[in-house]
Symmetry: D3
């Protein structure tokens, strides 16, 4: 159920017996010459809405622009400063907590969001922990980055092996091909291999572009196809639905 398509009266009813909600978070950033700039939020939103359908819970609108400072040397990328990102998530959590949502589950589509999202949780919690206890101490948050769910990760390795890469991966491009069949772009002709450096060595945008010239990190996008994208998508929905169920019951 999309929060955006509900009325406040319906939400008020829901909160009598439920206190869980899903929030998709992604990014608007370059995904190489083949991947869509919206890849990260499109996938997060797609998975989140499918999970919410299965769970019978509400799903908030996606956070479309995330923390992507390292992609700013590629046109079309947008970013929040991490400090802004944190404040945004604190405001979202505070808003939902005010109404009585006590389990807020973030489904994430972008690696660069992980650290600031966890930091945002702690910023919200710090506001709780440093003051006398109130009802707000019952509001708990969880984060699930879809590609890190063990079964999903195993399936990706099984299908794409070393062609998947670390940014603008074959798997995420395949999922967007599945979700947005009208926006499939021609694959870049070959595998871009960075001259040096590993995915962990991500610093500022200038440094990134110097090392990863077309934006990809080690991905062979010729391996992407809508069918495999659909398989990974469904596995991720299954994995995350189970994970979220446990969180809502905790």
């Amino acid at each position: 159920m999309k929060l955006a398509l509900a009325t406040w009266v319906e939400v008020e009813d829901y909160l009598k017996d439920n206190d869980g909600i899903i929030v998709p978070i992604g990014s608007t950033e370059q995904h190489g010459p083949t991947g869509l700039i919206g890849t990260d939020f499109i996938i997060a939103q797609g998975i989140a809405e499918a999970c919410a359908e299965q769970l019978g819970c509400y799903v908030a609108p996606p956070l479309a622009v995330g923390m992507a400072q390292h992609h700013m040397a590629f046109p079309g990328s947008m970013t929040l400063h991490p400090a802004t990102y944190i404040q945004v998530l604190v405001d979202w959590i505070t808003s939902l907590s005010k109404h009585g949502f006590r389990r807020i589950y973030f489904i994430n589509g972008h690696g660069g969001n992980i650290a600031p999202t966890l930091t945002a949780f702690n910023e919200f919690y710090a506001g709780v922990s440093l003051k006398p206890e109130t009802e707000e101490s019952k509001t708990l948050c969880a984060l699930a980055s879809w590609w890190t769910m063990p079964n999903t990760d195993a399936l990706i390795r099984d299908i794409f092996a070393e062609k998947d890469g670390a940014h603008a991966t074959a798997s995420e491009i395949a999922i967007t091909q599945y979700l947005c069949p009208e926006s499939i772009k021609p694959a870049a002709p070959d595998l871009f291999v960075a001259a040096a450096g590993t995915p962990l060595d991500i610093h500022n945008g200038y440094d990134y572009r110097r090392r990863f010239k077309d934006g990809r990190i080690g991905s062979d996008v010729r391996a992407a196809n809508p069918e495999d994208g659909g398989r990974v998508f469904k596995q991720a929905v299954k994995d995350i639905t189970e994970h979220c169920t446990k969180f809502f019951q905790s």
Copy 2:
């Protein structure tokens, strides 16, 4: 053209001959017992994408959560603090400006966003004005709230007259009925008339709910229907396309 469905290479090409972009901004907030919580960003996004189609320009993803503190006494509403909202818009503008977008046109679906959006423009501009001049002084922003365009406003008055109201208006509900026909909710049985106060007297959320008990301000939602919604929508697209064209050429 949706920025989310482009690649960075396509955006780089676009920027050789163009420097305009459209950004839809809305809100996630109660719209009375009949209106959708996502009304404001759904309409802004709908209009923005239609305008971008006509203009052949890019449209960014929508800002789905805006400044809606006054609706926080109704479940499901979400808000950014105004200070957060400003920082978000400054970050979006700074990101786009970094790539060479010099005309950034915001299409707005929520009255409560007007003041903080203009304030965000000035926050960005203050960063320019207080320092030695750089290229960034060429980046200009404009704001269009769809219901304030003269011809659109006239059409709304013509169709809905005094039934339109000031929040959760008949016209905005009609547009969402047109855009989301699968989510038409039963109309509230009557016109809610606030016991006292006018639309200009909006303060905090507790005060709001005391005065406007079901969330609406003076709107008779029984007047809303998808056909009239479509008429208003198309007029707004036409008006804003013209207005944006002038801005892009300025």
Copy 3:
């Protein structure tokens, strides 16, 4: 009654039966080659003190430096960043609210202050709306920009017609001539007409000066004189006193 000339004991007494206060807000910014840099706060303070006299209420000291980033290419202009401006007003409101002032009425002399002032109100209100209800939810704010009061506006149009312009207007210069007769400057010899652009197209300071070379926007300051200034001033005091009375009684 000026707050600055009272003792705390007198204010304590006042608050037993009253909860209203007036706050003048202005700007320190260029007003063309003829207008005073202090025009906006001088007028706001003048009107505010006259209204307070009639209402028997307290008037705070003026906010002399406002949001004037767009005037920063003209020497002598001073500005707060909008984010600073908001925090200042939130602190002023919080201070007054702490003592029990429940109706805080801002009389404004500067167009550039309107959006950030409304945004500041919402920042204060957001602090109320996102937390459990306290006494602070009774503290309400209102804004009146003197030249927008209908009767005042009508009188200006009647006296100055199209010579008034949009910045460094004949009417505001006339009022400062009335209030500060010892500081009447020689009028600029002619009407400066901007080569292009309208008053709504205000962006950063560099852009402003390029388009409005001597600082004025379309005003013919030769029309200003102390007598007409006095007429407009008195009308504004009358209009705002009535408006404020309603707010204090709401």
Copy 4:
């Protein structure tokens, strides 16, 4: 010369041969049952304008609301958070520096402003020191609290001796009697002596009021009179004019 009564053209001329400006800073806070709430900015403004007259330099409008959190248990007191105060002063300094003012001299009327003012200078300087050198490194600030000037302090001790006290002092009340003869209040009948604690032991507002019940700290306001106020005022103007002259020439 008041900046508020100048035009930008006059300021532009001034800056060809001068780069100094005076800024008065004060507070809006309780000064016991006899002293005016505006005491601190009224005196700072009075001295600043007299000094500027002698120096032939511009004087900015006063900062009327300063850092007075410790007085917030007394009605009518207003305060900025120190963090806000700092940002305000940084914005003022940045504005003036943008135009080429290189010597900014703050005349202060309130003890509670000293630490945050010096901190604000350092916040502005930190922005300079942590970046490559620009013209802004030439902009220097100085602070003078009138009652700390050696000759002024000696005169106060000579006239009021131990009756002066540490807050709502006889000398500052005397100066306001000199500057605002129409607002002389009846003196509190006796010397309020705090049961315990010294002027250095100032903490939060609740603690302050518990220890200093009527707001004064050790002052016998019966000693205040306009004549002595005038003597102290003139001495302060003389001392500060000399001090400022050196700073402008440094």
Copy 5:
């Protein structure tokens, strides 16, 4: 070489041929009934100084108070808000970068610091990425949490196996016993096993204490001893020295 024990002249010489520096970061927080409150920064500082000795590079003073909001229900714990933590690290990085340090290597002793540290790096980088390129784009940061180095982790598993736990671990207590032999506390009598929840389920401080009653998470501190502490410490120094060497050469 400790930065604190150098002179600026020595640092100036060092920077002619070197651009690397080590920064230890830890926390001041409860470590169960047996562990020291300073455990995290004591270990980080110890390892950092030993590594710097081997590398011949400078080591900054430790960040002693980190992000520990979740421990605030246990007396003696201190925390920075994550937003403060980020600003502190940005200021430290900016300071070092100003002098020409281009490789800044953080050795971390506290799990709760990981997300905010990476976020702080991105906040610093965002300042670089959103502006025209300067020398600052050459300043790169890296993070090493000592217990995550593969060989160190293997040794811990080898020595302590499942008795290590997840907070107030046997291994970290053993290291502090090795480094601070005069402060060895009696071991808690048994293994505290949380009734429910896993180490990943850390939220606010109230929730933490409810679930982990004596502060430990699954650690059997009876297994800790100085000898094993020394072995782990030396392995960590070896691992991190190698890791840092690669970073300095990158």
Copy 6:
């Protein structure tokens, strides 16, 4: 007693009968060609730990990096922006106050910390004063800069007279020689005398280095020796222990 070497159970016990704690604050900044970069926090920490020993109270870890923007033109100096510094101290105070520490005594080793520390106290207090009263109003802070204690100051004048200077003083170098005998550096060959300016005239880092070329302000470091350092250190410990005792009992 060092907080870092205690367990939370010990702190819980301590708080049953005590509510005082000492916090050393210093700086990491150039101290001329002879003085150690860590001088200010090394001395503050040394004195604080000695005082805590005598008082039987806890001492927190030192704040090693303070407000030193004016030293940033000398390699190795580190600084927090004053705004960051304030937020750090507010977080430290808030953490300690949460546990029931009601008297927090800061022992300071750096002149540049004085204004921002007092400002931080007021920022914490403002949070108390602007809200309804809570237990937090009982938390009071005090600041002692060791070289300003009257007897310590007298001893310094007695030993070093005019050779002490105002930065990188002979006395502080002597104390570090006493505390860190293995890090005694050769004395700069002569007394550096600034061509112009006084210690009070400290602005940004560029200006500082222009005027005080080797970092010192008027100090003849040849006068420093460990014996005299020990004498001053012991006097400071004695003075501050007495001062702190009174504060803890207030």
